[in-house]
Symmetry: C2
């Protein structure tokens, strides 16, 4: 499972404050704790005004790389901010994200092609927003995968986000996500499939339980990556159990090791 740690995000109040104050210690702690929890990438979203964002992105990238080797997932719609980050990264990065929206295709996709990055593809466009069917989402995915491959990216560099909409707003919403995941898995066997899953439970009670159950179901149908809080012990436990229950944990070694080392299960006694 390719975990993209979501916590360095300037739309979160404490992170925004740390960016304004150039509080490197705060950002480094977030980076280290997410890396230690098993993140394959750390999402980096400055979330600031366009004119400040390139500087903020550069500062974040430099600051994070002083304490950890985890590749970064540069999260912005602003080409200048992305370029500032891309010029500083020391490990093969990911860009979050291109969609079928014109500014993304024209502004973000060329950067991914130029720097040959991993790339998240969102199944939405300006015409329909998020299509309310897997067929609609696949049309956009087909186009984005085509453009990316034509531009020289490998299928294995692409992370398709099938998109998740709240179950409280549509009884079939989870099913649309599963169908999209299955279609991507079948049509593009080398593509990764990733998503932030917590939208599913928006407006509902018992959100963590709904999110965990949905995670297991998405892994069942072929998702192999997720954008999440890697320090959520329960979610991490469900992820490890999900992989084990999909035949991807030989002799249950990863799961058992995580329990023994206190990464999941009852936290170690201090």
């Amino acid at each position: 499972m390719i975990i993209i740690g979501e916590k360095i995000n300037g739309t979160r109040k404490a992170v925004a404050q740390a960016i304004r104050d150039r509080d490197a210690a705060f950002i480094k702690d977030l980076a280290k704790s997410q890396a230690e929890a098993g993140s394959s990438y750390l999402d980096v979203n400055a979330g600031t005004a366009p004119e400040r964002e390139p500087d903020d992105m550069a500062w974040l990238v430099t600051t994070i790389q002083e304490v950890c080797d985890t590749p970064l997932c540069l999260d912005s719609a602003n080409p200048a901010a992305l370029r500032a980050g891309l010029e500083l990264v020391t490990h093969p990065p990911m860009i979050n994200s291109v969609s079928g929206e014109k500014p993304r295709i024209e502004g973000v996709l060329p950067l991914a092609l130029e720097f040959k990055t991993n790339l998240i593809l969102l199944a939405l466009d300006d015409e329909t927003g998020i299509p309310n069917s897997s067929e609609g989402r696949m049309k956009i995915v087909d186009r984005l995968v085509g453009l990316s491959k034509d531009g020289g990216l490998l299928e294995s560099q692409l992370f398709v986000d099938p998109l998740v909409t709240a179950i409280s707003t549509g009884t079939e919403n989870a099913m649309i996500t599963y169908d999209t995941i299955r279609s991507v898995r079948e049509k593009y066997p080398e593509c990764h499939i990733t998503s932030g899953l917590s939208n599913i439970s928006f407006g509902m009670p018992l959100r963590p339980l709904i999110n965990q159950t949905f995670m297991a179901m998405c892994v069942q149908v072929g998702m192999d990556s997720a954008i999440l809080n890697p320090n959520d012990r329960n979610l991490r436990a469900v992820l490890l159990a999900s992989e084990m229950l999909m035949g991807k944990d030989r002799f249950c070694q990863n799961f058992s090791r995580a329990v023994r080392s206190g990464k999941i299960g009852d936290p170690p006694q201090k």
Copy 2:
């Protein structure tokens, strides 16, 4: 989701004691609490020596029916005990279970056909025990579904148990169960699919978490029934979330109602 409450089972020490002592209050409590928790059937297993079992089964059935209307799932390999129960039940019962084993085919199946009961079919036989592939299990299922239908049962009266073996003894064991569930769902669309799921986590730490994750995955691939402890609040919550996330809970009504009434989530304050 068709829940078969598992708690009235004479292989559990306290239940065995209650059966010996004819402690009706104890059995009635077990019946009521499982019925109130939403069981569609209550499993009834006397678990006693063959010569005592018919009397014990009859006493259990009578005792339970004094306090609840939930149909019973008569759980025995002993034809005399099953007949004793079948002659007393007041609601359409289920028999647990027929397998490909000769004594079950010869002793139990005829009773299911005679009384036209619902029937659990186990994917094992005397030749191979539990086959280590979904193909092997489906061969047995095919035979049992055929015999049942030829004998006059409807496909919708059949509950196929795909069988679950411990993930700690085989990395692919969960996958074999999913494949069997998918095959049954495809080949026999009217059949129900049920199982006791907790074997999956035998020998592992964090068993409840593994069981919950496995439950979500089995529902994802088509399971519509489970044999479990209906008083396990977490498991019930995962079940309700799973149904909701499979598009089977219109407007999230069942899930929301269960939270509001305190059936799942934080227990109501006393």
